[in-house]
């Protein structure tokens, strides 16, 4: 693959040189120029195949006609024959969509859609609770209200109504109050999700989970964690949308290394652990005033984008699926090849936008080195 890339560069250079050299000499070599009718019909892809082929041969040799054709093509915004094959797609697609909304289909689809919506909301609620769980436990111990809303769904997941101590009930009541205060100003939360959360929190308040109390009791209260966690807990969607940072490592930052280890053992279920991220976060322990920067360091060394895991090594973001024994294709950001690639695979653009500098990404079995 490396060899192929070189080949491309060599030919690229040679062809550019050839283009400059021949630009002035070839321009009027053609016998008879295309007339306005032929040019406009060509630009609009309105010619029979044989005629088009004849004019293509002329255009390949005649810079005069190409110049006009380029002007026409760019101003007309034409759609090609090839693309018009695709363009026939929308009509088929729209017919398909129209078919979906016929009364017969809707009769069955509406209840099914309702079930799907409920399932999706449930999924969102379950996902929301996972990463902030740890924060919640820490915060509860300190009686800090900031991260509490995130704990509510967790409580509902591990719903065990048996042992509800008075202290837990007090805590649940406080959580409920805090949730009501917190959910209202969250701009990103969809109303439906918020209302469901509120419902869930009521359940949780009535039936606090037994698992939660022992966890918080063992917790060494972090001095400065909660203020930093607040925005994260308040904006769970933002953190999840594109770049999923490694929560365990981030939360461990203000703790001592030992405490961080203990937490790893006891509470990393549901999290994605990242050793590299821990390595970075551990030295940051105790540096409370620089927590934000430390978080950035952590996220800057291990990130998950578009479902792919990247670790920064030697200034390069490397995909966890990267196999150094395989060939890679090198692309420069902004190059034609890069734009063509991200045109085909927009997720790669998401990755390239989220990660700065050089990236090695494995996509559909091929390795791309983006600079």
């Amino acid at each position: 693959m490396e060899m192929k890339q070189e080949t491309k560069n060599e030919m690229d250079l040679l062809l550019r040189r050839l283009g400059r050299r021949d630009e002035s000499t070839v321009s009027n070599a053609a016998d008879e120029h295309l007339d306005a009718d032929e040019l406009s019909a060509y630009a609009e892809n309105a010619l029979p195949a044989a005629a088009r082929a004849r004019y293509t041969a002329h255009l390949a040799e005649c810079s005069h006609c190409r110049q006009i054709l380029v002007q026409l093509s760019s101003s007309a915004g034409v759609v090609s024959a090839t693309e018009s094959v695709k363009a026939s797609g929308p009509s088929v697609w729209s017919r398909f969509l129209a078919g979906l909304f016929t009364p017969m289909v809707l009769r069955y689809a509406a209840p099914a859609l309702g079930l799907i919506v409920v399932a999706v909301i449930g999924f969102v609620v379950l996902r929301r609770d996972q990463s902030p769980e740890y924060v919640t436990q820490v915060s509860n111990n300190e009686q800090r209200p900031t991260a509490l809303p995130a704990a509510e769904p967790t409580a509902s997941v591990v719903d065990s109504p048996s042992k509800a101590a008075a202290k837990q009930e007090d805590l649940a009541e406080q959580q409920k109050r805090n949730l009501q205060a917190e959910t209202a100003p969250a701009p990103n939360a969809p109303p439906s999700v918020s209302s469901i959360e509120t419902e869930v929190s009521k359940d949780a308040a009535a039936q606090p989970k037994p698992q939660q109390q022992p966890a918080t009791a063992n917790e060494a209260p972090p001095a400065k964690a909660a203020p930093e966690e607040r925005p994260r807990a308040a904006e769970p969607e933002v953190s999840k949308k594109e770049v999923k940072e490694v929560p365990a490592a981030t939360r461990a930052a203000p703790q001592t290394a030992l405490q961080a280890e203990q937490r790893e053992d006891s509470r990393t279920h549901g999290f994605v652990r990242d050793k590299a991220a821990d390595d970075v976060s551990a030295p940051a322990a105790g540096a409370g005033s620089k927590l934000k920067r430390d978080e950035l360091n952590v996220s800057a060394n291990s990130r998950t984008v578009a479902g792919r895991r990247f670790t920064k090594k030697g200034g390069v973001w490397i995909d966890s699926a990267y196999d150094s024994s395989k060939d890679s294709t090198t692309l420069a950001r902004g190059s034609e090849q890069y734009r063509a690639l991200v045109g085909d695979e927009p997720e790669i653009k998401t990755i390239a936008d989220a990660l700065d500098g050089e990236i090695i990404v494995v996509w559909k079995g091929r390795t791309y080195r983006i600079r």
């Binding site: 040189r17 009718d37 040019l39 406009s40 082929a53 054709l69 915004g77 034409v78 734009r339």
Partner: protein
């Protein structure tokens, strides 16, 4: 099935009747007014390429013509004042916009637009006394707006070419520097002997000539893409629009062409110039090496040129 002359006439007559039927405003034109124009278009775009074009293809061709635009233009040509007013009213903005994009300033654009209307109206007269109008060349195959833009662009290019001559102002870059390097400086390592320098120069010339030959041997569609991208300096997206393909398709096609060209160049050098496989590989490698050097120097120069 061979399409005989009577057959063609029948297909034409039926096609013209259908065209008049589907035009929302046929401008009171009859079959006799339209048939010569449509017959000329069939000859130009179909029969010239394939005299045995089937009746079905001819009928399809006629059915795809822009019926209203064609009727409007033929009515204008025949002196229908209402049709002319409609034409001016509908397409003044199109002509002006095309003239602006083809001109360097507003005055030149206005002059160009006026020239176009004069050409269309036909201020000159033919031998038979009829106005010599460009309208006679519209076939109805493409849109009328597109045809008008093409007329403007052609006239603008003609005017521009009369006023100035193209001057090559390209900088010495890439291979020119490589050529200089080949003449007096080491290419890979060590200082070359004069014989090596001379042979390198010949090698580069051979390589360039072989590439030129290989490009000429490409299929027309591929050659057009190469010309648009490398000779006319279009972006891939723009070249794709001209060819009627998506940018990604153009990119893939260009990559394939580069690979094809390398194979063809290698074959030409070995078969016709007596090179060995190793020599061709080395020559390409030298080009690649100097590409890197050139890019580095270019980037450092750009960095130095940046303000602040």
């Amino acid at each position: 099935m061979e399409t005989t002359k009577p057959n063609i006439e029948r297909v034409l007559n039926e096609g013209v009747a259908r065209l008049l039927g589907r035009a929302s405003d046929s401008r009171a034109l009859n079959r006799e007014a339209l048939t010569p124009r449509i017959s000329a278009a069939v000859e130009k775009y179909l029969l010239r390429n394939d005299p045995n074009t089937s009746a079905g293809e001819i009928a399809k061709f006629i059915d795809e013509l822009q019926a209203d635009d064609l009727c409007l233009i033929i009515a204008c040509e025949r002196g229908d004042e209402n049709a002319w007013n409609d034409l001016v009213e509908r397409f003044t903005a199109t002509v002006r916009s095309a003239a602006r994009s083809a001109s360097t300033n507003e005055d030149a654009a206005e002059d160009l637009a006026q020239s176009i209307w004069a050409e269309l109206y036909g201020l000159r007269t033919r031998k038979d006394g009829m106005p010599a109008s460009k309208l006679a060349y519209y076939s109805g195959r493409g849109s009328l707006a597109g045809w008008l833009r093409a007329v403007v662009a052609q006239l603008a290019v003609d005017v521009f070419r009369k006023q100035s001559r193209l001057v090559q102002t390209e900088e010495d870059t890439d291979l020119e520097r490589l050529a200089r390097a080949a003449e007096g400086q080491p290419i890979v390592a060590g200082i070359p002997t004069p014989e090596e320098s001379m042979s390198n120069r010949f090698a580069q010339t051979d390589l360039q000539n072989a590439l030129q030959q290989a490009v000429q041997e490409l299929p027309a569609e591929d050659r057009l893409l190469v010309k648009l991208y490398y000779f006319d300096n279009l972006r891939l997206r723009e070249a794709g629009v001209v060819l009627g393909v998506h940018e990604a398709t153009a990119s893939r096609r260009l990559t394939r062409i580069q690979t094809d060209l390398r194979k063809r160049v290698t074959k030409i050098l070995i078969d016709e110039r007596g090179w060995t496989q190793a020599e061709t590989e080395r020559s390409f490698a030298e080009v690649a090496q100097h590409l890197d050097t050139d890019l580095e120097s270019l980037l450092s120069k750009e960095a130095a040129d940046l303000p602040g």
